[in-house]
């Protein structure tokens, strides 16, 4: 079952109706369990195709139970290592020896996201951060929570567990209305906005010709690079809006994954606003422990700031590399880690040169902020070449455009991003008179209905199938 889709929406609405028939916690947990199984089963081809996934979940639960009874660092490391190994095997990473791979088709839908949930439980239970015993039903409903199964967001167990308490996250007509708004808005972003942006980007790829004049090649290449982040944002944030809205009908508050990422004024800030639950997870379980360990072992004072640079590099290298199993994604990881590390180095250098207050004053200069936003966007767009293409496509694009057009494209993209994002920031900071009318429920009803109609029409034009979700593949 695709998410988002009308089929999924119908499934979730009927499910929510049944779920909310009774306020009994047991009823709700069992209903959610049935729905999770029903949704998961739509990705199966016979029960055998569920066995590896089920084994992975069982391994996680056994680890949690064992660690709950006997908290031990060694055991914790053992279970984390076993979970990592199982994950790499099931995801068929290229470095896993062929004989270790399972020789038949099985589902791995949303396994990357489930992996983060399981790992989080194992680590937190082993470190006493989660003290209570996790019941099997609670574990199952948490790791396999159907609205967030396919592409997250990665919710922490404590947050999920809160929704299991009687009376938690009540529903009323306002919340239901708000949930529907998010569902419709998300569906619209995925179906209409992201489709149009992808079509535009693809047409630019087709249009790019080696025989075209330099300005045209540079413009085409700038559009190819610059449109993809917008497409990815519409696609993934649309999905996130959709599932957050759907989950709320089950009295579950999923965490946000995006917070105006393109208004970020540096790359470190960008990664705290883009795919927030993933970067938060890695900051918690990779960055912080790594930095602490390094600081404990290396006590030279002057080197301390550079330890953070290294920890940032490792963390965001993993963020990038997590996206796929090919060398493209490893390079994508290097560019993410490299970008964040360079950003940190720059901050250290500027603070040393201007002093903390001097650097802060510079960061407050409007022109500097605008250029920083443009540079952040341009860097992210540039790194995404290793996200959406392959080496052969990259070679073809580079040879068609030529070095001059590539440099021109980056400059053009930087200039355009700087101007457009500044315009956006300016408009946001000074809302026009009368725009508050858009917050009125009557206007919001009209807008949401219009988006729903346009989305339905777009679905018809797309042959009933919504566009694919990029992050479903990770």
């Amino acid at each position: 079952m695709n998410v988002p889709s009308l089929q999924f929406l119908g499934f979730a609405l009927v499910g929510a109706l049944i779920f909310n028939l009774s306020g009994n916690s047991r009823w709700r947990a069992l209903t959610l369990c049935v729905l999770n199984i029903a949704f998961f089963s739509t990705f199966l081809r016979g029960w055998v195709s569920a066995v590896p996934y089920a084994t992975f979940l069982l391994l996680g639960y056994v680890g949690i139970r064992v660690l709950h009874v006997r908290r031990s660092t060694t055991l914790g490391i053992l279970f984390v290592a076993a979970t990592l190994a199982a994950f790499f095997i099931l995801k068929r990473y290229s470095f896993v020896p062929e004989p270790m791979l399972l020789p038949y088709w099985y589902t791995a839908i949303g396994l990357s996201y489930v992996f983060f949930r399981v790992l989080h439980l194992l680590i937190d239970v082993s470190q006493d951060a989660i003290e209570e015993r996790i019941a099997p039903l609670s574990y199952f409903n948490y790791v396999l929570n159907f609205p967030a199964l396919v592409s997250g967001p990665i919710q922490r167990y404590e947050h999920y567990h809160r929704s299991e308490a009687p009376g938690a996250f009540p529903l009323d007509i306002f919340i239901i209305g708000h949930s529907f708004e998010r569902i419709v808005g998300g569906f619209f972003k995925v179906t209409v906005v992201s489709s149009l942006l992808l079509m535009w980007q693809k047409s630019c790829i087709s249009h790019l010709a080696g025989s075209a004049p330099l300005p045209m090649r540079a413009t085409d290449l700038a559009l190819i690079a610059g449109l993809y982040p917008l497409y990815l944002y519409a696609n993934f944030s649309g999905y996130t809006d959709f599932v957050i809205g759907a989950a709320r009908l089950f009295r579950i508050e999923l965490p946000e994954n995006f917070n105006e990422p393109f208004s970020s004024e540096n790359f470190i800030m960008f990664w705290s606003r883009w795919h927030i639950t993933l970067s938060d997870w890695l900051k918690t379980y990779v960055y912080s422990p790594l930095l602490l360990t390094l600081m404990r072992r290396i006590t030279v004072t002057w080197i301390e700031p550079y330890l953070a640079v290294f920890a940032y590099f490792v963390t965001f290298f993993l963020v990038g590399a997590w996206h796929g199993q090919t060398s493209m994604f490893l390079f994508f990881g290097i560019l993410q880690g490299g970008g964040v590390a360079l950003n940190k180095l720059y901050q250290i250098a500027m603070t040393a040169r201007l002093g903390r207050s001097g650097y802060q004053a510079l960061c407050a200069v409007p022109a500097y902020r605008a250029a920083a936003r443009g540079l952040t966007y341009t860097w992210f767009a540039f790194t995404l070449f290793w996200f959406w293409s392959n080496w052969e496509q990259l070679r073809l694009l580079a040879s068609t455009a030529g070095p001059a057009a590539m440099v021109g494209a980056l400059l053009l993209l930087f200039a355009a991003a700087t101007v457009l994002l500044s315009g956006l920031a300016f408009a946001k900071a000074r809302p026009m008179t009368g725009t508050r009318i858009f917050e009125h429920r009557y206007v919001r009803t009209v807008v949401a209905t219009s988006l729903a109609v346009v989305t339905l029409a777009a679905l018809v034009l797309l042959g009933g199938t919504p566009p694919d979700l990029v992050y479903k593949n990770f």
């Binding site: 009323d172 007509i173 306002f174 919340i175 209305g177 708000h178 949930s179 529907f180 708004e181 709320r248 917050e439 429920r441 009557y442 919001r444 009803t445 009209v446 949401a448 209905t449 219009s450 109609v453 346009v454 029409a457 018809v460 034009l461 797309l462 042959g463 009933g464 199938t465």
Partner: protein
């Protein structure tokens, strides 16, 4: 609706909003629907009725002589239908004929006279050009035009003979065959006036909704794009009832009856023409779904896109007419969807080009006496 966050507990929706909000939503849908319809009508204009056509109780309908009309399917391009001095669609007059030219009369359904396609793009205009290049003589096609069933086509035999044709080409599609009622063919009914029966309008709500939706241009546009998804289109076509059963084997009794009717009708028509030394060439023009299936789209085991063509080939061998199934030619075409006006069902200009190739190849068939006479070694001899 309001923000979920920051609302005081126990908040209530004002009572009037229970009515106002759904009404607003409904009004939005109506306004957007009307806007979409207006947009579709402006950018997808349609003129399917040919103003030159007049209804005739004997031959169905035919065009007024020396008349010009404009037609357009919503999915297609504007076409100027110029009807000649006999009321036929042709590149030239029906009266004047170049010495040594071969005259072909085109009969059959709307595809036969290139309905909704500009004259120069029609299968017969293209075939004339191809045959001229191949055979070194002029080919003068006269498409009788009009909307007619097989009885009504045969009622035009005197008009056909008046044209002194060297061959008659009939274009038939499964859609045309589905129009035959399945009764036994009775030659005494040819030339008998048939009352035009207006379809009684159904007053059921479902029928009215269907009629309303069917008349909507916005729905047509949506269908057009929906049909770009070939899997969706073909599976929908296969599930569209008995009209698609010509694709299934064995043929249903209804389709067996229809094919038996066509068999007898063509046998009779071919014999009539043969007695006047005129060969009959029948070309089967496939439906879009049939062509897609023939092109290799996966399908259930009982579906055979070539079954109807094979059945007609057997008829041809029995009944003495020359037959060509254009299904294979379409199945090999690239961008098959561009060959058809998907919702309307007729061929586009590109689709006519393929039909022209099949018709021209059949007319110039060296292995057949008709082909030899039209384009072979006998060509140099005067045709009459």
């Amino acid at each position: 609706m309001s923000d979920a966050a920051g609302q005081p507990p126990g908040r209530k929706l004002p009572k009037r909003d229970v009515i106002v909000l759904p009404l607003l939503a409904l009004l939005t849908v109506v306004i957007l629907g009307a806007g979409a319809e207006l947009f579709a009508r402006v950018y997808w204009p349609e003129q399917e009725a040919d103003d030159c056509m007049i209804r005739d109780p004997i031959v169905g309908s035919h065009a007024k002589p020396n008349c010009t009309a404009l037609t357009k399917a919503a999915e297609g391009i504007w076409s100027e239908d110029r009807w000649n001095d006999c009321g036929y669609r042709a590149l030239g007059s029906c009266v004047n004929r170049t010495d040594g030219s071969a005259r072909i009369v085109a009969v059959g359904s709307s595809t036969g006279w290139g309905y909704l396609v500009p004259l120069e793009d029609t299968w017969f205009a293209r075939a004339a050009s191809t045959l001229h290049a191949r055979c070194g003589r002029e080919f003068d096609f006269q498409a009788l035009g009009g909307i007619a069933n097989l009885y009504q086509n045969m009622a035009r035999l005197p008009q056909i003979l008046q044209l002194h044709p060297d061959a008659v080409v009939m274009i038939l599609s499964p859609f045309d065959i589905a129009g035959s009622n399945g009764h036994a063919f009775d030659p005494t009914l040819i030339g008998q006036p048939r009352e035009h029966v207006e379809r009684a309008g159904s007053h059921s709500i479902r029928a009215q909704i269907q009629a309303f939706v069917g008349a909507s241009r916005a729905v047509l546009v949506a269908q057009h794009y929906l049909y770009q998804n070939v899997d969706f289109y073909v599976s929908g076509y296969l599930a569209s009832g008995e009209k698609a059963d010509y694709l299934r084997q064995p043929f249903t009794p209804v389709w067996q009856g229809r094919l038996a009717f066509v068999d007898k009708a063509l046998e009779y028509f071919a014999a009539q023409l043969r007695s006047n030394d005129i060969p009959l060439i029948v070309v089967l023009a496939p439906q879009e779904a049939q062509a897609e299936l023939a092109a290799g789209l996966p399908h259930p085991a009982d579906v055979d896109p070539f079954a109807i063509g094979n059945a007609m080939a057997r008829m041809a061998a029995r009944d003495g007419f020359l037959f060509a199934d254009a299904t294979t030619a379409y199945s090999k075409a690239s961008a098959l969807q561009d060959m058809f006006l998907s919702v309307n069902g007729h061929f586009s200009s590109a689709g006519h080009a393929i039909l022209a190739d099949v018709a021209a190849a059949t007319l110039a068939l060296a292995e057949h006496p008709a082909g030899r006479r039209l384009c072979g070694s006998d060509t140099q001899a005067p045709l009459r």
